[in-house]
């Protein structure tokens, strides 16, 4: 729980800061650039490892987040039994690159897992993530739904507790690696939606007031880093896809500490406003993270 507390206070700080800034903005004269509250690095290219390394360098280096001897969870989207080119699951090359970089930063152990929506054995294999991550040295395992731990969400609006895969809480660092996809209920499925993969309870029941619940969850299980895989994005028929015509190749990766900023920025890749994504709108309403593009310090990395 050490991580949760630290994250909790950090987020509390960010939220408080954001609230102050929002208040100040209302008073500020027009034309004054708002203060930047989130760094968003947009990578473009195909050498994912080099791109990510440079992106991390821009936000202070991966060592700032991964201390030597840390246990790291790299949490991709392995939700579906689909091959990587269908863009329903995270690009295995991005996952592998992250695993290698985390080890490079001094991680003692890097784990990769997700609780899929369909059969775990098939989705782990089809997505290519199990093999790629294992080759990169990660400990790949299936989520054992019997090992749940109920975590209280004291400030939860729609949900007051969540049953989380216990192993998640044992990590020092969580690197959240969703793929950017279309989704009918949340508009898009991105960083905060990806966190549903650590739940080991009836997730069907999470789909009522889903946006509120996702923000509730992100407040207690806050990823250290969110890396949105937009190397391929799924533009329609999400989140399952299943046809290559729904897939758009962008070769972009978004790196940030702020999961709300990640989701907000990723919306623009689909030609949407951040607030078109229900969960971003909810986060913004509650002052969780940075939902305003104007408040993001966006920089680009190309290799």
């Amino acid at each position: 729980m050490r991580i949760s507390r630290r994250e909790f206070f950090r987020n509390l700080g960010i939220a408080a800061g954001a609230a102050v800034l929002v208040g100040r903005e209302a008073l500020a004269a027009e034309g004054v650039a708002p203060a930047k509250t989130a760094n968003v690095i947009v990578c473009k290219g195909t050498n994912y490892k080099a791109l990510l390394a440079r992106a991390f360098a821009k936000i202070g280096g991966l060592k700032k987040f991964v201390a030597s001897g840390d246990r790291v969870l790299v949490k991709p989207n392995i939700a579906w039994d689909r091959k990587p080119e269908y863009a329903a699951t995270t690009n295995p090359l991005v996952v592998a690159a992250l695993v290698e970089l985390c080890y490079g930063a001094g991680a003692r152990e890097v784990k990769v897992y997700d609780n899929p929506c369909v059969n775990c054995r098939r989705s782990y294999a089809s997505s290519g993530i199990a093999d790629a991550a294992r080759d990169a040295g990660a400990k790949v395992s299936y989520v054992d739904t019997a090992l749940g731990k109920t975590v209280k969400i004291p400030r939860g609006v729609a949900v007051k507790s969540a049953k989380i895969y216990a192993d998640v809480l044992a990590n020092d660092v969580i690197v959240n690696v969703p793929i950017a996809k279309d989704h009918s209920l949340t508009g898009l499925t991105l960083g905060m939606k990806n966190l549903m993969g650590i739940l080991v309870e009836n997730r069907g029941r999470w789909h009522q007031q889903i946006n509120k619940k996702l923000v509730d969850l992100a407040q207690v299980i806050t990823p250290t880093l969110t890396v949105i895989d937009a190397t391929r994005i799924l533009t329609a028929n999400g989140p399952t896809g299943g046809d290559l015509r729904y897939v758009k190749r962008l070769d972009k990766i978004i790196v940030t500490e702020d999961v709300t900023a990640a989701d907000a920025y990723a919306a623009t890749l689909f030609g949407l406003e951040p607030t078109d994504v229900g969960v971003v709108k909810e986060a913004r309403r509650r002052g969780f993270g940075t939902a305003d593009l104007a408040r993001m310090a966006v920089s680009t990395v190309e290799v």
Binding site: L147, H207, D243
Partner: protein, 519 residues
């Protein structure tokens, strides 16, 4: 070779085949990547080959291994029953235990007339098969064995392993081991099929019949043994008794597990002897030997089973001839079970029923454990054929495992591309229970899960989005029903393809409606 060695050789053979058969059934699971003949066990049965061919009016080439058994039997008599058959071995083990636990068994002397029951059963099965109703799989050991493992034993083992490892989680030093076992061995869905108890009870019943006589099932019930008795009654290999050595002590007769030995030990019923070789060592004077040749022991007239009375034959055949069409008609006259969903690749219902040998291989391999044995939802004769129960496990969109392991091609093998177009049912929303429809709550689980492209479930509406099924796109995989968060029966349910079951040649849902599997 010392005489005792034969017995051990036979036991080793039995053990090896039993272990191999069990291992094969257990190994019949995702991803089927080992180069093993997963579906081979039932294909060794001549009876299944004959009845499936008769019922479906087609020679089923997949049954070629049955020819090996026929050849073996032509040469050696019922060696298959004594040396190979896994059910025979299981019964031997059961008989051994029963012998130990209840010392006193009835004398092995018996009324020979009872041997006719297996022959009469065989006749009935063949007649029924000719009318398109193959029921041989209910009784055939090579269907019974994988079915019992698939539907009962393996699920019991999985459940036991699941619960045991959960207990081990509470013992900190064993936590790691428990986790490793659960990762590698315990299936993702641990479920007992609704029919598990009946199938297990049927097998236990067979074993308990050993209380009456050893190898009771083989003597009086097994129609495959009856068929092999016909095939092997004139085999050149057999038991020989040297008359000048024989002291007529009847030791061999008492030790014989199938009651094949008659007189004072000097005669043998070739149709009954399964070459277990127990009599070799039972004989104090070494008068007994096995081999090819004319000096074979004379036929034991008292247990000559294949020779049933003409009256018995006529009564059985006549009764079957009358009953088969009645049953056929009755089964098709019952009210359709709307929710009977056949596995992907299933042929037209009549042909599917004709070919399906009820071996349970598809049930074993099903990744989500959604396939379960049918009780009487497909009529009386549909017992133990497979159905999909989506609330337990859906049909994984790109999975084709069951179509790969069907021994009789009742399920035609599908490629991944064919599987995407394979229609097995249709999802129907119950608007009185669906959360967005009935309670005005957000929910898109069925739509989110729907694997087709484009999705067969669409969310529509201003304000609250509500799911609608697009019938022409739905394949009936049932993942929507599986995942529906409404408690109890799902608010979206998959109905089977009614044209499959009850309206041969009719229109409606299903692959015919959509222009066939190839389209």
């Amino acid at each position: 070779m010392p005489l005792g060695a034969w017995k051990w050789l036979r036991r080793s053979s039995q053990f090896a085949f039993l272990v191999a058969a069990c291992a094969l059934v257990v190994a019949t699971t995702y991803p089927l990547e080992r180069d093993l003949p997963y579906d081979v066990i039932p294909r060794f049965s001549p009876l299944l080959a004959v009845t499936a061919a008769a019922a479906s009016r087609a020679i089923i080439a997949a049954f070629w291994p049955a020819l090996i058994v026929v050849g073996l039997t032509l040469l050696f008599g019922r060696a298959f029953c004594g040396w190979v058959c896994p059910v025979g071995t299981a019964l031997d083990a059961g008989d051994f235990l029963i012998g130990k636990l209840f010392r006193k068994r009835k004398r092995e002397g018996e009324t020979v007339r009872h041997r006719r029951w297996r022959v009469l059963l065989l006749i009935a099965l063949v007649v029924f098969a000719a009318f398109g109703i193959p029921l041989a799989g209910w009784f055939d050991p090579l269907s019974l064995f994988p079915r019992t493992l698939a539907a009962s034993v393996v699920p019991y083992a999985a459940l036991a392993l699941d619960k045991t490892t959960l207990l081990l989680y509470k013992v900190p030093p064993l936590e790691g081991a428990a986790f490793a076992i659960r990762q590698r061995v315990v299936p993702e869905n641990v479920t007992l099929f609704s029919g598990h108890a009946l199938i297990a009870a049927a097998f236990v019943g067979l074993v308990l019949l050993g209380l009456i006589r050893r190898r009771f099932y083989c003597r009086y019930v097994c129609p495959t043994g009856a068929l092999l008795a016909f095939v092997g009654w004139a085999s050149p290999f057999g038991r020989r008794v040297a008359a000048q050595e024989c002291t007529e002590c009847k030791r061999c007769r008492n030790v014989c597990r199938t009651g094949a030995i008659g007189g004072c030990g000097e005669t043998t019923a070739q149709a009954e002897c399964n070459l277990c070789m127990d009599c070799l060592t039972a004989c104090r004077t070494q008068a007994v030997s096995f081999g090819f040749g004319r000096e074979r022991a004379p036929e034991n007239p008292t247990t000559w089973a294949p020779a049933i009375k003409r009256r018995d034959f006529l009564v059985t055949a006549g009764a079957s001839l009358a009953a088969a069409p009645t049953l056929f008609a009755a089964d098709r006259g019952v009210t359709p079970d709307l929710f009977l969903i056949r596995p992907p690749g299933a042929r037209e219902e009549d042909e599917f029923l004709a070919r399906c040998i009820r071996c349970g291989e598809c049930i074993r391999v099903c990744l989500t454990q959604g396939l379960a044995p049918v009780h009487f939802e497909a009529g009386l004769t549909g017992l133990w054929t497979p159905r999909l129960v989506p609330r337990v496990g859906y049909c994984e969109y790109l999975c084709t495992l069951c179509t790969q392991v069907c021994p009789s091609d009742a399920l035609e093998q599908l490629s991944e591309e064919q599987k995407k177009k394979e229609v097995i049912g249709l999802a129907v929303i119950d608007r009185t229970r669906c959360l967005p429809w009935a309670k005005n709550e957000d929910c898109n689980v069925c739509e989110e899960m729907c694997p087709t492209a484009p999705k067969a479930i669409e969310l529509r509406g201003r304000g609250r989005l509500k799911p609608h099924v697009l019938a022409e796109l739905c394949v009936g995989c049932g993942i929507c029903e599986y995942a529906c968060p409404v408690e109890g029966p799902a608010a979206i349910r998959v109905v089977g393809d009614p044209t499959r079951v009850y309206a041969a040649g009719g229109g409606g849902l299903g692959r015919r409606y959509r222009g066939g599997r190839a389209g």
